[in-house]
Symmetry: C2
């Protein structure tokens, strides 16, 4: 029996990262590959309390509105300084990307992404057969100068997508100028900017930068990185007209989210004193881990590797000169360490010398050991 896939499915690039998970879950492999937040930093006890509180009311276990439970929309709106009508709760912020792509993008419509790209975003736009235009990211975020040149030459994207803080995978944070310019171009040329921001709260050095301004911006956020991935609570903040469009589509996608999970999340996000302390602890720990990783890169790979010093988030983007990191990966796995080769995130550029290293998942000693193994793999290449 041979079942042909749809053209939409055929146009999606497989995620090397997800495929790697199978390997990295093998015992003995230290994974610098995944985007998993630290399991030992998930506030399990507080979440268990939230679960018991939510379940006390059986209506927490019923269906709920496609936009989300009112109490959770309000808690998120408060956090985002937005109105509840601007918030739609999704099954992780990946679902927001997927629903926005389906609601706003026709086959052949242009979508602009950064290069390297967050692969989940690329896949969502590929799944609706968008025409992808990738602009090489700069140290100040989305390449707004290049974007403007292309817009002047007639490029008319429906959407420009970026991860504004601690970009996955490049680690770059968009400057205030980039954000303001992107908003101006969105107004001038009539596209929507998607500001994908799962990592913004995880800043451990430097000052936060205001989000992209204006009313042609859709902001995506997530509870996965600050509370727990299994809550599967993400959200979009958008003009109510777009919330209405996504709400309508969501009925066919999965009817609604989990009232139980959203009530737990509302409890956690509304406990502002606890939340602030918890996020402070997370940032402090991630700073320790980022330093452990970069110290290890110095110690074991000094002179052979360059990297962008992480200011937050979960990833360190690095470059091994004259090494094809896709070829390095099998050797690294053999030594018991995993990472993601740059090419997994490349759209138009090659990025074959780059690699993404996560410092979030492992404790400091294992980060050091992982880098030591990586150096051994490189020696054996």
């Amino acid at each position: 029996m041979s079942i042909p896939p749809s053209r939409a499915l055929e146009s999606i690039r497989g995620s090397a990262i997800r495929d790697l998970l199978a390997v990295t879950e093998r015992p003995g492999v230290l994974s610098l590959a995944g985007g998993l937040p630290a399991t030992d930093l998930i506030p399990t006890g507080r979440i268990a309390v939230a679960a018991q509180r939510a379940i006390a009311d059986a209506s927490a276990l019923q269906y709920t509105a496609s936009t989300g439970v009112a109490r959770c929309r309000e808690a998120i709106a408060h956090l985002q300084c937005a109105a509840p009508e601007q918030i739609l709760i999704t099954h992780g912020s990946q679902q927001a990307l997927s629903l926005l792509a389906q609601a706003l993008v026709d086959p052949g419509s242009t979508v602009v992404v950064d290069d390297p790209v967050y692969v989940g975003a690329l896949q969502s736009f590929q799944a609706v057969c968008a025409r992808i235009v990738a602009l090489p990211i700069t140290g100040a975020g989305t390449n707004v100068a290049e974007l403007e040149t292309r817009l002047r030459s007639g490029l008319r994207p429906r959407i420009v997508h970026t991860v504004s803080n601690f970009h996955n995978p490049s680690g770059v944070t968009a400057s205030a100028h980039t954000r303001i310019r992107l908003a101006e171009l969105a107004d001038q040329y009539g596209f929507l900017a998607i500001e994908d921001d799962p990592y913004g709260a995880l800043r451990f050095t430097g000052d936060p930068i205001d989000p992209i301004p204006g009313d042609r911006v859709i902001r995506l956020g997530s509870a996965s990185k600050i509370l727990a991935p299994a809550l599967r609570v993400g959200w979009m903040q958008a003009p109510p007209s777009i919330v209405g469009m996504v709400e309508r589509l969501r009925q066919s996608a999965d009817l609604c989210g989990s009232a139980f999970s959203q009530l737990m999340t509302a409890d956690l996000l509304s406990d502002t004193g606890w939340l602030a302390d918890h996020v402070d602890r997370l940032c402090a720990q991630y700073r320790v881990r980022a330093t452990a990783l970069t110290d290890a890169l110095d110690r074991h790979l000094g002179g052979r590797i360059d990297w962008r010093p992480p200011e937050g988030g979960m990833f360190c983007w690095a470059r091994l000169h004259d090494v094809d990191t896709s070829n390095l990966l099998p050797a690294a796995l053999y030594q018991g360490v995993a990472f993601v080769p740059g090419r997994a995130f490349a759209v138009s550029d090659d990025l074959g010398e780059y690699l993404r290293l996560s410092f979030a998942t492992l404790p400091p000693a294992e980060l050091d050991e992982g880098v030591r193994r990586l150096a051994t793999a490189l020696d054996h290449l």
Copy 2:
């Protein structure tokens, strides 16, 4: 600011049922409209125990595989007499419909549905711009005779969808002959049959009928109706090649489901003694409620209404001769009762005299009062 919707979004019919929810949630309205299982029959205490057990291990709060947590796939496979590799866990079975439509249907591809149709399925196929062919359902389920005639005349669907047990909204259960014939036609003409079965366990009279046989069948199931909707656990059972295709698409849709929720579900589904008792209690209660509803139809609307006696599930499909039930609805809401007019489920037929009444949501006394109000509304029409 005017943002154009995608053609896909424009082609989705709004769900009158979901739109009605806003009205039916007004205090004082008795809802015979929604597809909500009885909140008072949700096993809250046992679910709370499952939540505490699952959360004891912090890995329950991490990301998980796109196909689902192994333990939950195994529990579902056991329930379905299938292999775990045939199971993919989705965010409710609605997500399975949506992902299957995206993975298997190209714009313009033909999909066959029953008329009346489960609106969520229709929307999922509309969202990928399928060509919809609706065949009037018979008392024995999908109209396989008409389907065969159309296939002989050259119809080549990718998918034939049906709700096999206690069809939503018509209440029909497909006969053994219908199921076998559908499987034969699937083999002969190369389409896939989707056997959507959220209600099969809720049989309170008559004998269960074996599922559609063969290897061109995708079976969808759900924990929403037997455990709780907020678990958001549904599943598909399909050949591993199709599981693989949907897994790949799911990465762009929402990455993965909730490990927490799936571990809770695995706990509940594996507790087979408790589960059997719980489902028996549900069936007994739903039988009482179905009888309360049809007794009330006799009492308050006798001679003016026909209905199909429910054998299970949650719905009673009824017909008021020479009444346009879409016109009746505002009068009914004014009297404080809600139902769904037949036209909400119609594809090619008119079904203007039909209505869907849910007996699952309300206790017996309120079902009687709801029907009394419906009769009053009819008198005032």
